[in-house]
Symmetry: none
Subunit: 417 residues, 2 copies
């Protein structure tokens, strides 16, 4: 293809092969590399077996210039990646005194006295450099190569921080790649197939761009990639896509809708409250996953029972008796109650049937009502969501945030809802 | 190890390596094999590249007696699994007249006249037998071996039907496997390294058992596997482990602590409420992820702001002024307020510094106070959690559920806290 290097990822962990634990590290690392213009040609998943790890690293090294191994760097008996990597290239492992000292200090500060075997984590391959673990205790390491070999932890948060903050900068220096140009379009409130057919007229005329659609409940991402010389084409197609998607396009970065809402509320100095029934707190959890959310989010009520809907949100008996707890009227009353009682500028409410039980012919599993209360009144939307409990709940939360986003968008444009 | 055969899965598809499309076929096939007592030792993911497919199949065949390749069986130019498999073992491909005829009939009935190249789908490896595709058009195939080689489609619904209905019955005949026995031990409130050193005396004497430790924030799972003839050993070691772990062992099934708490509350007919600050609703979200949680969970308050802590939970100004919102006193007041005002039997409260901002020398990021209110008073625990925001929040939720679980355990034993 070009001067850009190729990579192979080795994922270590018996639990992935044996216990149905999904591997998300392979895809994370491959996506991170793709953003650097480094194409992955092979992924291997092996168990916690020293000889299998060594064999996998050898196979990876035979097919790629960069080999990244994730997992098996912890302190326990089944963490064998260091040894497997040493075997793969006939390298020695040596205890790094300064890493061991740092680990001792780290445990001392936490009041822990782990067994001495823990300090296996300080064993470095000869010639390797430490990769810093900001999140946990297991250090990573990198060997210049060829092939370039990096060992990173298997705990996702530790791996992600290490890859992003320490590994990628080093790879950039070792392997100046052909940068690939990338655009992302994040879409709320549409299904993957709807996005596909909306964009078909634009996309059919374009063959020089790599494209991917990624979908999770209530969230669709379209990713386009081009070589540097196709950048003008990518820009032009990007503008056409933005026009076609209209207000359904909520971001052109890799961020969730909760981040966009957080930014808008912070900028407008508005306070948000929430009232949740079937999502049970997930909406609040999603909102507060954004650091700094206390600036705009005051909190709210998890109104799982009817008593809490009445006593804490002021939903009237009559509303519940006449329309039921899963109704437009209940959603509106919940949002209004949360806004008034939490003294917020805005409030979101969700009530629905998340299943698997609790459905009826008139109110089937997947029926969800969401509402937004503002100073100028309430807006309500009915959702009919296919699928199972977890995806119904997540899609409901994102739909509620999208209802709020569109309202904030109208306000920004000077035409209140 | 014994008579039970090993397997390797090759997943073909550039979209998995390049575009972050998650592979679910590898895990599906590995789980299906595990239920047959067939252990997977390796998974390879390769792009739509004939030479790479051939190389991956050779690597897989060198390490396992059964090789299953998923994907690349369609009719388009980038479907190259048949050719790659032929290259891997120097086999010829021959068009199977009866399969071609069946495909022609299938397209005719659907009113389609596809290009002739589509009939590449009828090419069989010499000696191979057809695997029926009940869902789509691309046939699969199987070669007795050794190694046993099976090619199945990449479209999940087609692959799943073919594996379950046609491939597994054939594998059972070809490889009568030794079923493997498995035990899981789920532990709350301990770090992975603590579990490891606690169990070291038991585990060091045992070599005939396969073991894995899985850790996610606030949750550790130890998994032991044995051959059928080692079942008595597994049972004995299991009893020793249970005694060593004591009350930290919360389950011997693959379930989260929220499921155990749900079962205990339901059995005891107790109602639970929640009051969350730094977790912002995640605890409620976790509790209500269990279907049927409305039986025991009434809801609660997301008390993100001090005003909500005061107005909705009755936390006194004095408590906040004297001790701060992140304090044992605030956690206790929140739990007491939630229990009383939601008219529940029990209430959990969480308040802490989830970071990355908001920390101070006296109250650093990771300081969390959890409290449980019961009819007989309040219990409180201070947590000092390392790591970043997401893991601090998840670990806080699970620690709160564990505080509740241990209280319910004492009540079950007739010695109230």
């Amino acid at each position: 293809m070009s001067a850009s290097p190729s990579a192979a990822v080795v994922v270590v962990g018996s639990e992935i092969l044996m216990d149905g634990r999904r591997d998300t590290n392979g895809p994370f690392i491959e996506e991170a590399l793709a953003r650097e213009g480094i194409a992955s040609v092979l992924r291997l998943v092996v168990g916690d077996d020293r000889e299998a790890i060594a064999a996998a690293i050898r196979v990876a090294a035979a097919r790629a210039e960069i080999v990244i191994v994730s997992g098996g760097l912890g302190p326990t008996f089944d963490d064998l990646t260091r040894e497997g990597a040493a075997d793969a290239f006939n390298l020695r492992l040596a205890r790094a005194a300064e890493i061991e000292a740092a680990l001792r200090e780290r445990f001392r500060r936490r009041g822990l006295t782990p067994p001495e075997s823990v300090y296996r984590m300080a064993d470095l391959l000869e010639g390797a450099t430490l990769l810093r673990n900001r999140v946990g205790s297991a250090p990573g390491q990198i060997l210049g190569g060829p092939p370039t070999l990096a060992l990173v932890p298997g705990v996702p948060a530790e791996m992600e921080a290490m890859v992003t903050e320490d590994l990628l900068p080093r790879l950039r220096l070792l392997h100046p790649a052909v940068p690939s140009v990338r655009k992302v379009f994040k879409v709320a409130g549409l299904y993957e197939s709807e996005v596909e057919s909306l964009l078909a007229p634009v996309m059919e005329r374009v063959t020089a761009l790599d494209r991917t659609i990624l979908a999770s409940p209530g969230d669709v991402a379209l990713i386009l990639r081009a070589r540097e010389h196709d950048r003008p084409l990518l820009e032009r197609v990007g503008r056409e896509i933005a026009i076609t998607l209209g207000d359904a396009l909520y971001s052109v970065s890799d961020e969730g809708i909760e981040c966009v809402v957080a930014r808008k509320l912070t900028a407008a100095s508005l306070k948000l409250a929430s009232a949740e029934s079937c999502t049970g707190g997930m909406l609040g959890g999603l909102i507060t996953s954004v650091p700094g959310s206390s600036v705009f989010y005051v909190g709210g009520v998890v109104a799982y029972s009817d008593a809490i809907k009445k006593n804490w949100l002021g939903v009237e008996d009559r509303t519940l008796a006449l329309h039921g707890a899963v109704s437009a009227e209940a959603a509106i009353a919940m949002a209004r109650g949360a806004r008034e009682r939490a003294r917020a500028d805005l409030a979101l409410a969700i009530t629905g049937v998340a299943g698997p039980g609790g459905g009826s012919p008139g109110k089937p599993v997947g029926l969800v009502h969401i509402a937004l209360a503002t100073a100028s009144g309430e807006t309500e939307r009915r959702l009919d969501i296919p699928g199972e409990r977890a995806s119904i709940r997540l899609r409901s939360c994102r739909a509620a945030l999208d209802l709020l986003r569109r309202d904030l968008l109208r306000a920004e444009r000077g035409s209140p809802a």
